[in-house]
């Protein structure tokens, strides 16, 4: 098993090289010249040339890539063209916000998704099933930015229950220890901060969870329906095991593999930043920031973020694969254990 994990980590290297080449080329071929954007409306042609030269944009493209990748290997992702800040600093200032939102959203989505899926499967073709699948249909088809704005208008604008934007009231901001406000406020015993951070999370996490929840609910339902048809379920029931135990211990556990795969994929994409949710709720995460940087042709930042997201996606999938072995002891990853 450890050998398997090691192998999978080695596989990260070609993935990252491939991703870095693709994003490097795409940015340089399709993005407008960053120089006039960075230098502003009073820039002279001469200044533009000087700046391009200073930033290596006049070098042949393979040389530019070589400089970039050798820097990246030593952990230096370059300097943002627009803000002149190191890219790693810019990214890590925003990434905790994305992780916090993604984790809360995926927890919400998994809990409600599995719950709806299981009920729909067990009560197939009943009103519960229809209601559950109707919710799932709304979840996959409703544009997230529209849902977000509706939530803001209703819960903030009309009812005044929840804040409309941001991560926390700036006056309650906790000392920065991990970057996760829920944890930081708890650790520093800032209970008002914790409550406020939680209140700020409710709307964006709900909006973001909606789509993933719908996908998870649908997958749970179909996987459960299939498992409930199996002989071992009939056997379990024949043995007189209570229905609840049959569903949770026997059916759900056996049907979990595709559900966990979907949750893993959803988490991977949520960690890449939820652009629309972050924009609507002014959530200071990596997604909206990256889009802003793409529009400004800020090459170093975009390259850095894409590398980071690719790594996380691969690692999350690795966790999911390892998790399979727990859910289903028949799955083995090393020959010795066969």
């Amino acid at each position: 098993m450890l050998k398997y994990i090691f192998k999978r980590i080695l596989m990260l290297i070609p993935v990252l090289i491939g991703v870095s080449i693709i994003v490097f080329l795409i940015m340089r071929v399709f993005s407008p010249d960053p120089a006039p954007i960075v230098l502003g409306q009073h820039a002279t042609q001469e200044a533009v040339e000087v700046w391009r030269q200073a930033n290596g944009l006049n070098d042949p493209i393979y040389l530019q890539y070589f400089h970039y990748i050798t820097g990246a290997l030593t952990g230096d992702l370059g300097i943002s063209y627009y803000t002149k800040m190191p890219v790693t600093k810019e990214i890590f200032a925003r990434f905790p916000a994305t992780i916090e939102l993604a984790l809360v959203a995926i927890m919400l989505a998994s809990f409600f998704g599995i719950l709806i899926g299981v009920i729909s499967a067990v009560k197939k073709n009943s009103i519960f099933d229809n209601a559950g699948m109707f919710i799932a249909l709304i979840g996959v088809s409703m544009p997230i930015f529209w849902l977000g704005i509706l939530l803001i208008i209703f819960f903030s604008g009309t009812l005044h229950w929840l804040p409309s934007s941001g991560r926390i009231d700036p006056l309650l901001q906790p000392l920065d220890i991990t970057g996760f406000y829920l944890i930081d406020s708890l650790v520093t015993n800032n209970m008002d901060g914790f409550k406020d951070a939680f209140r700020h999370l409710v709307l964006p996490a709900s909006a973001l969870a909606m789509y993933s929840m719908a996908i998870i609910a649908r997958m749970t339902r179909s996987s459960m329906l299939e498992t409930l048809q199996q002989d071992f379920i009939r056997t379990a029931r024949a043995k007189g095991i209570s229905e609840g135990r049959v569903i949770i211990r026997h059916a759900l556990r056996n049907g979990l593999i595709p559900i966990v795969t979907v949750i893993g994929l959803q988490l991977g994409s949520l960690l890449g930043g939820a652009v629309l949710t972050e924009t609507v709720f002014s959530w200071p995460g990596i997604g909206a920031y990256t889009v802003a940087c793409i529009l400004k042709s800020d090459f170093p930042v975009v390259q850095g973020v894409v590398l980071l997201i690719a790594s996380i996606f691969v690692l999350v999938n690795l966790i999911v694969d390892v998790f399979y072995a727990f859910l289903d002891p028949r799955i083995k990853y090393s020959k010795k254990e066969v």
């Binding site: 098993m1 994990i5 200073a54 600093k89 409309s164 934007s165 991990t178 995460g285 909206a288 690692l315």
Partner: protein, 520 residues
């Protein structure tokens, strides 16, 4: 054993992701002040500032924060772009207009405790002059382009020598870009870039910047001038326009900007107030004067004559833009209300156009809303298309997003295009020079008139006063007679604030000084 291995594997893989993520939580500096809501102003703007070093940025979002942290040698008066003393308590200009002597305020300290003096002024200007200036100092050549050198006369007197007389120089020194004076110690400590650690002499001190969230400032209790009324100021960044309105109505923000006509009712219905003031900008349509058919001024005038500008402006901007009669905003020196473009007369226009044989034109425009054109360039182009169809001219419209549009303009492949300008320094030269500029991304009409250019140079050199105003009035007349542009509108500034906020204002240069603003 197998189970142990599996647990070990899971722990390892979770730890891997954990390690890759924990880098994210690197400790940031945090505020040691614990502000309270009652003595805190919260201002919500639509985007994050680029940075807080006046020499290194060019965006309006940065300016709104920087005006509160820094002072310049001069400042604009509250309701116009006339310059007033600030860190320079007085100044003399030599008769040849080449030497400016500034007498500085005494006893002023930067936020880091170091002294403000003539050396600090020299240090700040020198870093933006050759050989020290760098290509990414966006406004250095605009503000200090005419400066030859700076001499320290004594601790409180500094002399700036110019290469040629430049009357806009004084207005430039009141700008928030480039001109404010930064603590030389802070610049030395921060590798000549204080984007993240600004230190000025202004009414507020920088406390903390949570990226993409907010910037916190606290009152400078040792401020040399009139001290700020409110202890803390927080700038929040709320990108979505409707979310910003909800934040105001919900009490999460005390003041917001970047609103348009569509939300005014929603804001006033919630009991909040609207701040409305003339804007220092121009939204215009430009003819490509470099080639047929619009190298003919008569035909340009005929097209302008076919468009009912006041009607179009009213319908597009719902009363929150003022129809433009000429290039300069109404409050600017040189504006003369007697100057106007050729008046609307569709019949006369149709006759002239028919005689010329013109039947189709190519319009090029942008798809985004702009500060001077909230309805988008696309909507404006379509309105023009409507008017032209009535006089027998068919228009094709090519539209692009703003960044691509600016690239496309350089090729000059259009008959008519749409553009706009937001003034920098309140000087009429800053508007009129657009028609004399050699850069095709500025002078999109590709207008070339040697007489006009000569007068532009004369305007820059002539000392402020009646003679200079006459020059700009003359330039406005020439531009109207030649009809290279059809000035469309001046967008008004629209902001909103809660009823318990007093004395909030948004200056026409696009900044929000909070020194006199208070909250009940």
């Amino acid at each position: 054993m197998k189970k142990f291995k599996r647990i070990a594997a899971l722990v390892l893989s979770v730890a891997l992701v954990g390690i890759s993520l924990t880098g994210c939580g690197g400790p940031k500096e945090s505020s040691d002040t614990t502000p309270k809501a009652s003595d805190t102003l919260i201002y919500a703007q639509g985007a994050e500032p680029r940075g807080l070093d006046p020499a290194m940025v060019d965006d309006g979002e940065s300016a709104k924060v920087m005006i509160n942290i820094y002072d310049g040698l001069l400042k604009y008066s509250k309701d116009s772009t006339k310059v007033e003393p600030s860190l320079a308590k007085s100044w003399d200009v030599s008769p040849d207009g080449l030497t400016y002597t500034f007498h500085l305020q005494e006893g002023v300290k930067f936020h880091d405790g170091t002294d403000f003096d003539a050396d600090a002024v020299k240090f700040n200007i020198d870093r933006q002059l050759p050989p020290q200036v760098t290509a990414d100092m966006a406004y250095a050549s605009f503000v200090y382009g005419s400066v030859k050198d700076v001499q320290v006369v004594d601790k409180n007197t500094v002399k700036v020598n110019l290469t040629a007389p430049s009357t806009p120089f004084l207005a430039n020194l009141a700008m928030v870009m480039s001109a404010p004076i930064i603590s030389p110690k802070a610049l030395k400590d921060n590798n000549n870039n204080v984007n993240q650690a600004p230190v000025g002499t202004g009414p507020y001190k920088f406390v903390n910047w949570a990226k993409d969230e907010n910037i916190v400032l606290v009152r400078n209790d040792e401020y040399w001038g009139t001290k700020a009324l409110t202890k803390n100021v927080i700038f929040k960044f709320i990108k979505d326009n409707s979310a910003r309105v909800v934040a105001l109505n919900n009490g999460e923000a005390d003041m917001i900007d970047g609103i348009d006509a569509t939300v005014v009712k929603q804001i006033t219905d919630a009991g909040n107030k609207i701040f409305q003031a003339p804007g220092m900008n121009i939204n215009y349509m430009a003819y490509n004067t470099s080639k047929k058919p619009f190298n003919d001024p008569k035909l340009r005038a005929a097209i302008s004559q076919s468009i009912n500008v006041p009607e179009m402006v009213k319908s597009l901007y719902q009363g929150y833009s003022e129809p433009a009669t000429s290039i300069l905003p109404t409050f600017m020196e040189g504006y003369d209300k007697s100057i106007a473009q050729v008046p609307y007369d569709a019949e006369a226009a149709a006759t002239a156009i028919k005689a010329s044989g013109l039947t189709s034109v190519k319009l090029m425009t942008y798809t985004n809303p702009r500060p001077y054109n909230s309805a988008t360039g696309q909507a404006l182009a379509e309105a023009v298309q409507g008017y032209l169809s009535k006089v027998g001219v068919t228009c094709t419209i090519d539209s692009y997003d703003w960044t691509t549009y600016r690239e496309k303009l350089k090729a000059g492949n259009y008959d008519i295009c749409f553009y706009g300008w937001i003034g920098d320094n309140g000087d009429p030269d800053n508007f009129m020079y657009l028609l004399a500029h050699e850069d095709p991304s500025m002078n999109v009409a590709l207008y070339k008139n040697p007489e006009f250019n000569k007068l532009i140079v004369k305007g820059v050199e002539t000392p402020a006063g009646a003679d200079r105003i006459a020059i700009y009035t003359q330039l406005e007349k020439m531009a109207a007679a030649d009809a290279a542009w059809l000035p469309v509108s001046h967008a008004e500034t629209l902001c909103a604030y809660r009823p318990n906020i007093s004395d909030f204002y948004f200056h026409m240069t696009g900044v929000t000084p909070f020194v006199g603003v208070s909250k009940k």
